[in-house]
């Protein structure tokens, strides 16, 4: 089984919570989490709905392995129509909330409507009720989590909430659980805010014991953990250096988008790298990094816990930020650093703390600041308009803009609309480094051709986690490919996208795939779940999910013209690095990709493809 077979449906307009059975036919076709919740979403909402209207729904979904003993089995996803992109949004988070929700007896929560007053959802096993959040509205994620634990006299209460960014409907607002784990991308926090839903607080003591074949599951899980422990990346590299180890790698290759993608190498990268986080500061003799941290059930433990320099200008009068806290992870460090030309590690951590504290996606926030800084340097944005000087490299501007955006002050409200709307507002949409309205993460598509195609075709806008071609083009996992080559990339990307869609539907972390193949994952799912979960079935499930998302996006209004990249990546070559002189060769890859997917030349799944996948 593995599924609890129960959904909690919460209607905020009516103020009620109802239990209903999980659709097991859909579970057999879409597995769980990303896939299964997407099936529910596309079946229940109008694809053209305004993402911030009450008619949009937001789903919190676990996978069949969430809450089990499988390594990294603590994931949950938030699925909705995204306000930043206007397409399907699916943001995945770790920490402990997902496992707690499963342990309370729920596979997923479907939230619909809009509450007339701020509320939070309190779940204690089978009991679910909506309670007033009047006193929590206007408060941060951290304050909300602390207040709810105290109010319910339960330090093990797990809370998933929004801060002021979500309340103010910052279009890249995140949902944060366990203080610094986030369903970060595509603005899922703004949807929660639009519904006047401040938080979900859950306590589950039922456990997750309904495994189809317990003995086989324990054997498969033990074998999987051995692979993770013995692999140099998941057993040593990630726990020691975290994702931040990529800062120097990607920069040395000349694949690090810098100053709003003007450049591909950042001269300050070393100062904000994983290696720098391990070094003692001159000011206090402490290292920035305090320790690593694991999410529920994780045997990798890649998370970073750091302590900011108390003497830094950003926090010298703010002792509330002096303790050990989450960050920096690579994507946040890049977006707050390289994208803006800021090489002040402490300033990056302060901006990152604000993103965690008030629930913002640091990738989209940082990348939007990069656009602000370019517009400022071009003279299009003035100091008067912004409220401060904002040249590239200004740590002061980064920190102040983070405060203004998180708190909804002044020009921060414009930043909170994201790069696409901001650049359009000031007459330079070409300077928005986005796909389908979502900002790029930390890899340049001109230097990594496979990533260029991954960005253009991602179902949630520019994203590295829908098909992480970096794994092949940089790390050589599962095979090393030349990042400058386009040949073979469409086929490889399709395989990555389909496999990732499957992994995102299990309850496992995608980082396991640095060591695991589907051959390691399949026995765990087959042992836990009833039904046919052969390798073939799992990969077909991934492909089905990808096409389901695509169909929804097409119905929402996107076309093949949206499967593209900003003109800068298509026309302005890399100035330095191993890919000097290169642009993103999207036109060489996209037609083949459509063909391999079984789509028309216009990027629409054919009737035969739909029939083959049971759509």
């Amino acid at each position: 089984m593995a599924w609890t077979r129960k959904i909690l449906r919460v209607n905020l307009t009516q103020g009620n919570c109802v239990s209903e059975p999980l659709n097991m036919a859909w579970a057999a076709a879409y597995l769980g989490q990303r896939g299964l919740a997407s099936k529910y979403l596309v079946s229940e909402i109008d694809p053209k709905v305004d993402p911030l209207a009450p008619e949009n729904k937001i789903i919190y979904a676990t996978g069949p392995l969430t809450g089990t003993m499988a390594s990294t089995g603590g994931r949950y996803s938030v699925i909705t129509k995204g306000p930043l992109t206007g397409v399907i949004a699916c943001s995945n988070s770790g920490g402990f909330f997902g496992a707690e929700l499963k342990s309370a007896g729920w596979d997923m929560i479907i939230v619909e409507g809009k509450s007339p007053r701020p509320v939070y959802l309190h779940i204690e096993n089978e009991q679910a009720r909506l309670l007033s959040a009047d006193d929590l509205w206007g408060r941060t994620v951290w304050a909300t989590e602390g207040t709810l634990k105290k109010r319910h006299q339960d330090p093990l209460l797990r809370v998933s909430s929004i801060g002021r960014a979500g309340e103010n409907q910052v279009l890249f607002a995140a949902i944060v659980n366990d203080l610094h784990r986030a369903a970060g991308r595509s603005g899922v926090g703004a949807v929660m805010g639009s519904k006047n839903l401040k938080a979900i607080a859950v306590r589950g003591t039922l456990g997750v014991g309904n495994i189809a074949d317990g003995k086989a599951f324990m054997a498969a899980v033990a074998a999987g953990k051995k692979v993770l422990a013995e692999n140099a990346v998941t057993g040593q590299g990630l726990p020691t250096y975290g994702t931040q180890v990529l800062m120097n790698v990607i920069n040395e290759m000349g694949a690090s988008p810098t100053r709003n993608h003007r450049d591909v190498q950042f001269e300050g990268a070393r100062k904000i790298s994983a290696e720098a986080m391990h070094e003692k500061r001159a000011t206090d003799g402490r290292t920035h990094l305090v320790t690593n941290q694991a999410c529920f059930g994780c045997t990798i433990a890649c998370g970073r816990i750091s302590r900011i320099d108390e003497t830094h200008f950003s926090v010298d009068t703010k002792p509330q930020y002096w303790g050990a806290n989450g960050g920096l992870e690579y994507e946040a460090a890049w977006a707050l650093g390289n994208a803006n030309g800021v090489d002040d590690l402490e300033a990056l951590q302060y901006a990152n703390l604000l993103c965690n504290e008030d629930g913002m996606d640091p990738i989209s926030f940082g990348a939007t600041v990069g656009a602000v800084m370019e517009l400022y340097e071009l003279g299009i944005l003035s100091e008067d308009e912004i409220g401060l000087a904002a040249p590239f490299g200004s740590a002061e501007a980064l920190c102040r803009l983070a405060e203004m955006t998180a708190h909804g002050e002044g020009f921060g409200k414009v930043v909170g609309q994201g790069s696409k709307r901001l650049c359009t507002r000031y007459g330079r949409p070409d300077l928005s480094m986005t796909v389908k309205g979502q900002e790029f993460p930390a890899y340049d598509g001109r230097a990594l051709q496979g990533m260029a195609l991954a960005y253009a075709t991602s179902n949630r806008g520019a994203c590295h986690l829908r098909g992480y071609m970096v794994s092949s083009e940089v790390f050589g996992i599962p095979i090393k490919t030349d990042p400058r080559e386009t040949a073979g990339k469409p086929e490889l990307l399709k395989a990555f996208q389909d496999a990732t869609a499957t992994v995102d539907s299990t309850g496992l972390c995608t980082f396991t795939t640095f060591a695991w193949t589907m051959n390691d994952i399949q026995p765990q799912i087959q042992a836990a779940c009833e039904g046919d979960w052969s390798l073939e079935s799992l990969l077909r499930t991934g492909e089905r999910i990808w096409n389901l998302e695509r169909d929804f996006n097409l119905a929402a209004g996107i076309t093949a013209k949206d499967d593209t990249l900003p003109p800068r990546l298509l026309n302005e070559p890399c100035q330095t690095g191993a890919s000097k002189g290169m642009v993103a060769e999207l036109g060489k890859m996209l037609p083949e990709y459509y063909s391999l997917r079984g789509w028309t030349a216009d990027g629409v799944p054919t009737a035969a493809t739909r029939a083959r996948l049971g759509l």
């Binding site: 990346v233 290759m253 290696e275 794994s471 050589g476 090393k480 995608t510 191993a578």
Partner: protein, 84 residues
Amino acid sequence: MEITFKLFASLSDYLPVEARRTNALSLEVPDGSTVAALIDARSLPTRMVHLVLVNGQYIPPAQRAERHLIAGDVLAIWPPIAGG
């Protein structure tokens, strides 16, 4: 000839202490030195030499013995790593 030699992550320990804050070292090496010869000369453990870049370009294991360096090259090496 002079090249720049960089070691990152846990390989940083194989740099002189004074070079660890930059992860980089200027090295005077014989003309025509190969990537493999330099790796051997620094006594780097084979299992930790994973990602090898010359001027940002990946050098596969099979090519390291034939890849000759020229003055000004930047040789950078990482142990097995990943992230995202």
